[in-house]
């Protein structure tokens, strides 16, 4: 992780508009995320399918039904 931070520092130091102290914190955070050490749980296929189902059933279908004069 140390070399990763050094690599980020070499690329970003003085280019972020932040003070040196905050930059240090920023580089540590970017390194953690890039190394997948701060990974959060992603959505699953169930979430995606549910989202799509909601969009179709409660978003598109009502418009179609009103358009066809059924509602």
């Amino acid at each position: 992780m140390g070399s990763q931070i050094e690599d980020i520092r070499a690329e970003l130091h003085g280019r972020t508009g932040m003070s040196e102290e905050i930059e240090k914190d920023l580089f540590k955070r970017i390194a953690e995320i890039e190394e997948c050490r701060s990974m959060i749980k992603p959505m699953t296929k169930v979430d995606l399918i549910s989202g799509l189902a909601f969009a179709l059933l409660l978003g598109v279908l009502p418009v179609v039904l009103v358009g066809l004069g059924i509602w």
């Binding site: 690329e11 508009g17 003070s19 997948c36 959060i40 749980k41 296929k45 989202g51």
Partner: protein, 494 residues
């Protein structure tokens, strides 16, 4: 947790630094409270009043759920997913397609809209206080000076809540969100009891057009616009969620179903009582006790809602070097200075607020469309954090000295397309409206225009990191939660 770690986490809430997993505050439940409380504020009643102009109660609910569902799903897919995945706010993310200076230009425009919301809501809280005082004393109090003083006090409370930030949002909304949901249901029941549900269901729209399909489409369009208009407030809080699921679904619960509940109350009040201003109908419908309770709860929801608005826009201000170095109280204080000055013109702003709402409608469709194309199509869900924080010409996302002129062209032309399809201020529309709606038309235009112009100009000129993006280490995980690439681009299991 050590003191040092705690402070770093607290700092991240009020800064644009990426928020790490260990610093995140919101579980699914907590974020649901925050978003439901945020959604169920006076904007629902205002939108409800607009819908009642064109459609009756049942059709308004159908249009509200359908329009909000489509718009909120699209909007959160564009904003919340990258925000929660990388732990960054929306105004940092848009740097990937607007450029770091383009983002600042957008911020100026949004600051006007957001300050207007804070002024109008603080003013409405002041009106609520006067309505409660009138209810108890039986004397009509209508003094502009008193209203202005109360409005300034309300804005002061907004500032206090915004300074305290996400932890206080959560605490306040855990109390007020359930109360408001219950009170909204009670209000609908009371309206039904007083006027009869059959009367409510049969009540005619206030000022409909001759064509029922067009009336429905306008109600649907207003709901689409309402769903998209949450955009400036997304990301800042979503980045504090512990999982993608915790950031995604509470928006559906709050911004679609919660907002529709409030909209239904607004429609009922507009159709049966003839006003959308809660100070005008809550005490007459609910009686002094329930009405007062409802006004206090809605007032608190309004204050928290615009505190969230202030929090998000002030995070965005941190894109400026001079703001970044300021502490949080000063950043929010500077924003509130605009609000405090504007409070002296609150009556005029309140009476002409539909103009600002109309202008705001034209802005969000092209921005959301470009964000979708940028994140999902062009960048394949991979953002370079290093480039997002690089505010010089050496970063991949600098485009042309920090401006992506292609995005700016699509943004401006998208707003014009919206306006040509429908003038949101005067509610006049072109024939295209009945096939696409204005939000739909402007979104489809921006999706196609940014894709085509991006491929033709940005990819060919290798601008914005599109032509040869460096993917090293920036892809966090795939859908199954497995790491796909590490910093050196090698496959690596977690």
């Amino acid at each position: 947790m050590s003191k040092q770690e705690f402070d770093v986490g607290a700092e991240a809430q009020f800064d644009v630094l990426p928020v790490l997993k260990k610093d995140r505050l919101y579980s699914f439940g907590k974020y649901t409270y925050v978003i439901v409380g945020f959604a169920l504020a006076t904007w629902c009643f205002m939108i409800g009043g607009s819908l009642a102009g064109f459609v009756g109660f049942k059709t308004a609910i159908i249009a509200s759920i359908a329009g909000n569902m489509v718009a909120v799903l699209i909007m959160i897919t564009a904003t919340v997913v990258p925000a929660v995945r990388y732990g960054i706010d929306n105004y940092t993310i848009v740097g990937s397609f607007l450029g770091y200076n383009g983002t600042k230009a957008l911020m100026v425009l949004l600051a006007v809209f957001q300050a207007s919301w804070v002024i109008v809501f603080s003013f409405m809280v002041a009106k609520s206080v006067l309505a409660i005082a009138s209810g108890f004393t039986g004397t009509e109090i209508d003094s502009r000076i008193i209203l202005t003083i109360l409005g300034l006090c309300a804005a002061g409370v907004v500032w206090f809540i915004a300074v305290k930030g996400p932890k206080l949002f959560d605490k306040l909304n855990m109390v007020f969100a359930p109360i408001i949901v219950i009170l909204m249901v009670v209000m609908i029941v009371l309206v039904g009891k007083d006027y009869g549900f059959s009367v409510l269901m049969k009540a005619k729209a206030i000022n409909p057009l001759d064509n029922n399909w067009l009336n429905f489409l306008i109600a649907f369009e207003l709901s689409l616009g309402a769903g998209f208009s949450w955009w400036p407030n997304m990301g800042g809080l979503a980045r504090l969620c512990k999982t993608e699921r915790a950031a995604f679904w509470p928006n559906i619960i709050g911004l679609v179903f919660g907002a529709t509940l409030g909209t239904a109350v607004g429609v009922a009040a507009a159709l049966l009582i003839g006003t959308t201003d809660p100070t005008g109908w809550m005490i007459p419908i609910g009686g002094l006790f329930v009405g007062t309770l409802a006004l206090i709860a809605v007032g608190m929801a309004n204050l928290t809602a615009v505190a969230i608005v202030s929090y998000n826009i002030c995070l965005g201000f941190k894109q400026w070097k001079s703001f970044f170095k300021m502490n949080w109280t000063k950043v929010t204080g500077l924003f509130m200075c605009i609000v405090f000055i504007g409070m002296f013109f609150a009556v005029e702003l309140y009476n002409n607020f539909y103009i600002i709402l109309g202008l705001a409608c034209t802005v969000y469709s092209p921005i959301i469309a470009m964000q979708l194309i940028d994140f999902y199509v062009f960048r394949k869900q991979k953002l370079e954090l290093r480039s997002l924080y690089n505010k010089t010409d050496t970063g991949s996302y600098c485009f042309w000295k920090g401006f992506n002129w292609v995005a700016i062209f699509v943004f401006l032309s998208g707003a014009v397309i919206y306006y040509l399809i429908m003038d949101p201020i005067n509610v006049t529309y072109s024939p295209v409206f009945q096939y696409t709606t204005a939000t739909g038309g402007a979104t489809i235009y921006a999706l196609i225009a940014y894709y085509v112009l991006g491929k033709l100009i940005l990819f060919k000129k290798n601008k914005g990191g599109y032509g040869g993006q460096n993917n090293a280490g920036y892809h966090i995980h795939n859908r199954n939660g497995e790491a796909e690439t590490n910093h050196n681009g090698n496959a690596e299991a977690l």
